[in-house]
């Protein structure tokens, strides 16, 4: 079974530039998450999708971050414009929704973003 795919793996940009990250979840996983992980901290949820609908985006800085999952499969997270404090690893995770909330999340390798 293929895992969660993310690209790019690394990205370096100047502040005020824009950047986009892509995620392809495990086939059949209706729930998709984007997390931000700052060095030394645990993952922090940015947004959760169920199919192509947003379940929770309460911690997404909507003035600069946006995300979409148009066909209920792969997803894109965008930052525009980037700030220095956005430097972090952006993790995508997916979960099999059937069976309730107890199923574990499967994480991709993450995209390491450095904002200069």
């Amino acid at each position: 079974e293929a895992g969660v795919a993310q690209s790019p793996r690394y990205k370096i940009i100047e502040k005020r530039q824009s950047v986009a990250f892509w995620c392809n979840p495990i086939s059949g996983h209706a729930t998709l998450y984007w997390y931000q992980q700052i060095l030394g901290q645990g993952p922090k949820l940015l947004i959760q999708f169920q199919n192509n609908g947003v379940v929770d985006d309460s911690q997404l800085p909507k003035d600069r971050f946006s995300a979409e999952r148009l066909k209920g499969v792969d997803s894109t997270l965008k930052i525009q414009p980037a700030k220095l404090e956005d430097s972090a690893v952006y993790l995508c995770a997916s979960r099999l929704t059937s069976g309730g909330p107890y199923n574990e999340q499967f994480f991709g390798p993450g995209t390491r973003l450095t904002v200069l």
Partner: protein, 114 residues
């Protein structure tokens, strides 16, 4: 809001010993708790889930306990090996909905010396 505390200092132990990691939480009682392992440059990998009505869960050399009175989970690795060296994250369900949303602790780094 929910607060999760894991030992921020790295845990260094000798190979063969039992490693014990702690996860404390405040403000409410989660329905379940999960433990993940994260290696440098990789995403977290699920290890174990324990529900609020379970006191203990085991998987091979791993054991998790869940004390809802103390609001604490302990994660044990017995007969530890250098390959167990990694950061271990605890995660609790967010509680107010049935969406599978997790809140993660900051993680504890384990270093097993040969």
């Amino acid at each position: 809001s929910q607060k999760i505390e894991q030992n921020s200092e790295a845990l260094n132990i000798q190979e063969g010993k039992t490693a014990t990691l702690t996860c404390n939480y405040t403000n409410y009682s989660p329905a379940y708790l999960q433990w993940y392992r994260q290696d440098p440059g990789r995403g977290p990998v699920f290890l174990l889930l324990i529900r609020e009505n379970e006191k203990e869960k085991r998987k091979e050399r791993l054991k998790v306990t869940f004390d809802t009175t103390l609001k604490q989970s302990l994660f044990h690795i017995t007969a530890s090996q250098p390959a167990d060296s990694a950061t271990y994250l605890c995660a609790l369900d967010e509680g107010s909905s049935n969406t599978g949303k997790l809140i993660f602790g900051q993680g504890t780094t384990l270093q097993v010396k040969p």
